[in-house]
Symmetry: D3
Subunit: 245 residues, 6 copies
């Protein structure tokens, strides 16, 4: 029996519900899921600026999760915002939905493509993929005309748009697995999978399954170097965030 | 409730038992594990030659697993021998222990090192890492003077040798996670983890946890291109292996 | 005649003064320099956690700089914290000291090394170098036992320590240019240069010179895709940071 | 005077004859060529599964070649199946037609393209090119609708199809040399070369010329590490393949 | 007050004038610019053969510049011909216009494209970008039907052609900054910038600004290894070029 | 029966003789070898400056070779100086000894090391390897204290020094093949090979064998793009080098 805290970094309640549903649908019966969102910040995250401003509120949730002694934390936005800082401050293992889904995709096929929202997010995805070292495994990033908040306006149009881009990725780019590049795409995975004939991955589910596996194997994330806890030092302000002696 | 068939590609019963124990220790209560080994071939695999000769017997087990309708297959040798061919011929998802543990390691730390047997296996590990695209995530491959069959002769010497190399990898190479590079190292993971203070991954467990997650999410591996089933054609001999109309 | 706002992301007044002195020493006579620091946050930045928490206060300064219509903004910390978000929200070109010094180093020599503080910062530097695409130009990252705040305790020990690591980088790693990896190293550049016989770059000066060149050539940074201004949308809280219609 | 054993890994006699003709056309007068095929296995190789099953029969031929003391062995299939295992078990130097033609192509032009059969083989070619380290030299892999066995059905259609793809590779991808990606394309090289105005390489010929050069220079392949002979150990079954004391 | 010698490696007076005008338009008031061209050689440089033959005359100018004790030298051709040899023989820092503009472009945007002349120059640009290590930052090289000498025949056609290719690079390739790939494109930068809405860089200006910054910071290029002065030895002929005791 | 012109780019007659001997020792009986050197230039080439100044004299020899209708040209210096320009101007295929030996080394072993002269040449070798795309195949570049002209002063010391570095490359760097990085090392290959137990490659022999193979297969180098003949244009001076209508 484990408990996973899922943090939606934006402030959209609708997306928070979608995330929660995805997680609960595929979590094991004995996994308890709690999904929360940032207390402040934009309704959706599409820029580094928005990610960073949401960061304080994500880290606040991470600290709360550690206090409540949850067993794992999932950051549920495909930019994996504040993932590295969260891994530093958290004793509890933290999972990003992008990193979880891309690594799982590598196990399920020769190459994957990410189907995502507006073209604006492409540079940041490219940099994430470079950081993960998966350039040679990513067939393409396929943007659409839909912003994050557009995704839920007309679900059937959304599904049609995503499916078309995914089909092009399989046909033209050599993709064998599709990663859905936004939590606003929750619920489209299995329908698309059926239409396309290739695995379609929702990052939230991937992260939950990784978290369960890591829990079962009694692992935590490494705390020796990159993700060691910040050393206490003098801080000006910033209240509970400050790491002091 | 799922069933996983684990195939030890070599013919060592001792290693088969070690693999089985590792898998059962960390599998979920409702996961059924069956571990088998190759019917013919060398006692241990340390060369591509040995891997390829064992290949027929691994593929035989893969075909049997498909006939018995298991839910997942794990190939339990750190060279991931016959992994790509198995993914082609199998409808059931197939997991390699090297690919599973390296991808999981990437989620748990900035960089991982592989602690392995004799230097002889290094070139093949290098090529595997290149195929996986994880060059930038691998801090080092640390060989030891121990052959595969040496590993079980003196377990305390084995653990000492592995721990020393792992410690050097953490201290000198920047490793934050250690992957055990041979199934003959079964049982040393948690002791080493305690001594080293970093996650130590046994590939068999990693593959089992990946298999369970993929099963829960109702996924299979992609069958559209790289791993599509071989088309029927004319074969000379090779009995049940032949894919004919 | 141009005006450059330099933002020290930490809250150390001593480091702010050091940055200001470096900038004014090498700025052109008709360049006006104003150096400010974050209003809140840690005294020094050595982790992603600290960088992100400082981020709000850096972005606050970036927004002020735009309001005051400065001609260029320099973010003066070798992690280039909030650089990409600043480039998004700012109409005024923004320069990171790490990116400026590494690109300049590539022009001055075949390979450069970064001499930096404690080993803890290495993974983040590695990722920055990957993002910049300069892996093949970086000979090494040389850490020292000194934390950021140690740097100013005993300047002669600091210089000795930095010079020794730099000398090893030139002798053993093939470095032909040295980049000083922290603003706390201000003032050691020319002394080290004389001792070592290779160019030693202070990132603040590099960024100021880049800013002046870009100003003269009547350039701004690109605003078409990665660094386009965030689109207005609904925000919860976050006051002046919110980008709304 | 030297003797080269050429092994066609599939069981097609027609392709074996084509290979033999190509080799004899361009071999030096004092080079003796013997071309054999696998005793069992599929008529053509298009998957890793087929490659691996053919592997036993290729290795059987390699062992025979060593017993007969030939001077060089060529494995004549563009997947270079069992090449690494053959190099391990063989004292006689072994040449793959893909590796020989790609390296030669790099000497003859800035970039090469491979014109090959059905799209199915692309992932394996991509991995081979990554293993060889030649990603930056390969302009493209151009698949066609033709399976291996289709190639000989209508030679003039085959030539037309290959020439069209090759022309597109030169015009659109920057290819300056064309590698024919299947031994079933034997005999089309010079006709295509004349039509296209760029070198067109048949891998069998390339491997034969490499073998002759290596023989003249009194070289063998390296046997120190990757290709050292497998150490004797206990084997179960596998008859003459077993390496035992 | 500094003096920059700009060397046009070809023998076109028209291009020399264009380079001189660009440099003087954006140089600081107290920077003295002198622009010269090669005494012999082709009217334009489009091949490595032409670059190398021009090399003697470029190096002659570099030696003269050192004798005249200029403060910086710029080699003004987008192939950066003789740049590395010039850095070796020169005590005065030498700047290439390609390397200067590509590094500056990396600071101004996520990715840059080079708009250049005939397709013939593409392979050499590719190799230069590989040498600089900027493969991941270059969105594309966009060739045009125009040779170097065509560029000045019909300036409005030239501008139209360049603008169209640049627009395609921004729209289709993800370019956020445009580098003009030939000094024959002098004068089109700001017009194109206005039409395209992205920074457009003339390499000559970029090199001049780099040179000014390096001068202000009292830097020289590194002379320790790659660019150390050639050691005296015995030469046959070659007059003043010979480096002898 | 073919004729190969070998060009020693430096002006050392002793090295020219060494090259000639190596070539004739391993050339086929019906291959005619003529070895010439540059008419002017330094006695040895260790810098880009020296390479470029030698370039005119190399190209002069290349043009003569074309006039005399030789069948192949070899440029015999391990920096492959003027190789790309020679390929442009020559109709006859041109071979570099570095590119020939490195590609052959890739066929003979998993990784190769280059044992070379003074450390000064390392950066240029690194760039050559990057241009060839063989970074992943090169285990190391091992410099020695010997300059090119030192090599022939005390042959037994030379052999001892080279052998020691080569042994370290095999033992510590994973080298399986050794490339001799200077034509001044002529004659040491087979002695070293015997001592080391790995293939040791003299680049001149490798290039001659490549040339013979290419001749037999009736190939020429590609002339379509990178190495197309320079188009006629207006030249100032440079006599016979000028390519004019």
């Amino acid at each position: 029996m484990m408990k996973i805290l899922i943090i939606n970094p934006n402030t959209s309640e609708e997306m928070t519900r979608g995330i929660d549903t995805m997680a609960k649908t595929y979590a094991r019966p004995d996994t308890e899921i709690e999904t929360v969102c940032s207390r402040e910040g934009p309704r959706s995250l599409e820029t580094v600026y928005e990610n960073e401003l949401a960061g304080h509120f994500v880290l606040e949730r991470v600290i709360e999760g550690n206090e409540k002694k949850v067993d794992a934390i999932v950051i549920a936005c495909y930019a994996d915002p504040s993932l590295r800082s969260a891994k530093e401050i958290s004793e509890v293992p933290v999972f990003g939905i992008a990193e979880s889904s891309m690594h799982l995709a590598c196990i399920l096929g020769h190459k994957f493509s990410i189907v995502t929202v507006i073209d604006r997010v492409r540079p940041n995805l490219e940099l994430m993929i470079r950081q993960l070292g998966l350039e040679s495994r990513c067939a393409s990033i396929r943007a659409t005309p839909l912003s994050v908040l557009d995704l839920q306006k007309d679900p059937s149009l959304t599904r049609k748009t995503l499916t078309e881009e995914a089909r092009a990725a399989v046909r033209d780019d050599g993709a064998e697995v599709i990663c859905l590049g936004c939590t606003g795409m929750a619920g489209h995975d299995k329908t698309m999978e059926k239409e396309l004939g290739v695995p379609v991955l929702d990052g939230v589910v991937c992260a939950v399954k990784m978290a369960e596996g890591v829990f079962d194997y009694k692992l935590k994330h490494s705390k020796v170097n990159a993700f060691a806890k910040p050393a206490p030092k003098e801080w000006v302000g910033l209240g509970r965030f400050a790491v002091v002696d």
